[in-house]
């Protein structure tokens, strides 16, 4: 299982970034909870529109199974759903804590977007 977590910093003890499309970084972790890739999301942070769509595409290209974030809008959700990526929304704390919740099965997955477009 590959888990992506939106993050305000590059390391596993950084706080989760509540934004998905415009998250500062996206950390990708393997099934043991080790960071395997740090994606700098600057290009999407500055995108005029379609940031969530591009971030969703980025995760699909990296064969991610689960996304952990704060807010996920309708366009991003459509992309993630098409890619078969499960989304845990309204997650907070550090990346390490958020991943632990996924591993323990404590976190629930969303069946719809939790914010409106251009939130």
């Amino acid at each position: 299982m590959r888990i992506a977590v939106t993050s305000t910093g590059k390391d596993i003890d950084s706080p989760v970034d509540p934004r998905f499309g415009r998250a500062r970084y996206i950390l990708i972790l393997d099934e043991k909870g080790t960071v395997s890739e740090v994606v700098d999301n600057t290009a999407n942070v500055n995108a005029l529109k379609g940031a969530g769509i591009q971030a969703g595409k980025l995760l699909a290209d990296r064969k991610v199974d689960v996304l952990v974030t704060g807010h996920c809008g309708p366009n991003a959700f459509t992309v993630l759903e098409a890619a078969g990526i499960k989304v845990a929304v309204q997650q907070s704390g550090t990346v390490r804590q958020a991943v632990a919740k996924i591993m323990s099965g404590e976190a629930e997955f969303a069946d719809k977007p939790n914010v409106e477009a251009h939130w």
């Binding site: 529109k49 379609g50 769509i53 969703g56 595409k57 699909a60 992309v79 098409a82």
Partner: protein
């Protein structure tokens, strides 16, 4: 000859100035309301609309039988409007700018286009003045293609007066680009000045000569006049606040109907524009000081 009336700040009197300019010109004028989000000129001009047509952007439709999800369309699109994911291609029509790139580059010829309606263009006459405006669908974000459709109706033999939207972003740039002269309408307040400065920088960036009309010129302070002087921007006219104009406006009457003596003011604005576009050094001067 194309004259665009713009402002930066909303509510300064663009529509009042544009409509009265058109009425003063009479049969020489064509008035085009390019504030397609909230067109207002027709309220003052009361035109007889003779024809109308819908305007849209072409958006992609995928033929799933032909699509191999090769991903070329997604690489071509700058706006994330078409995204190949797994074994499907998703489209987001509201993000599509209608460039047609995806259909052009699709190696399987799997993309056709359908029109997503943005609004309508209506054409008619208001007395001797030719009239055109666009009406954007409520909630629609993409005004520029509709503004371009309105401007496509410009008659070169007329003096086209374009009423531009407020602000300094894409719809304003679309409305003023190609103009021979821009009339900036402002009010002499800190708010008017702030937004005027932004809009002036945008217009001068396009290389279009401009002049300022100070509306309700006897309120506020003199900072707008000082700014114009320091940037060597000509003040074409100052129109003092008038209860008669305000009352007329509030019941849908033209400035020039409420205060016929201002006919001379508008003729002066037009002659200043004529002078400026005949090749004086206004624009070069204002650029040099900026």
């Amino acid at each position: 000859m194309i004259i665009s009336v713009a402002s930066g700040k909303g509510g300064t009197g663009k529509t009042s100035i544009a409509t009265s300019l058109a009425v003063v010109l009479g049969s020489r004028a064509q008035l085009l309301d390019c504030d397609v989000e909230e067109p207002n000129c027709h309220i003052l001009m009361k035109p007889l609309i003779e024809k109308s047509f819908p305007v849209g952007v072409p958006v992609p439709v995928i033929d799933k039988g032909r699509c191999t999800v090769c991903g070329r369309c997604g690489e071509v699109c700058r706006f994330s409007a078409i995204v190949p994911i797994g074994d499907v291609v998703l489209t987001f029509p509201e993000l599509c700018h209608g460039c047609g790139g995806c259909a052009l580059f699709c190696p399987e010829k799997a993309i056709t286009e359908t029109l997503r309606e943005l609004g309508v263009v209506e054409i008619g006459t208001a007395g001797p003045v030719d009239f055109v405006h666009g009406r954007l669908r409520i909630g629609e974000a993409m005004a520029p293609p509709l503004i371009r459709a309105v401007k496509a109706k410009i008659k070169s033999e007329k003096i086209a007066i374009i009423d531009a939207p407020p602000g300094a972003s894409c719809p304003v740039i679309t409305a003023v680009s190609g103009a021979d002269f821009v009339v900036m309408v402002t009010e002499p307040t800190p708010f008017g000045l702030h937004d005027l400065q932004i809009a002036v920088n945008a217009i001068l960036g396009l290389g279009i000569p401009l002049g300022v009309v100070v509306n309700r010129s006897d309120i506020g302070d003199s900072a707008v006049q000082d700014f114009c002087q320091s940037r060597r921007i000509p003040i074409l006219a100052e129109i003092p606040h008038s209860r008669r104009i305000a009352e007329g406006y509030s019941s849908g009457h033209l400035l020039i109907e409420s205060e016929p003596s201002h006919r001379a003011t508008f003729l002066k604005i037009l002659s200043e524009i004529e002078l400026a576009t005949a090749g004086t050094s206004w624009r070069r001067a204002s650029c040099a000081s900026s």
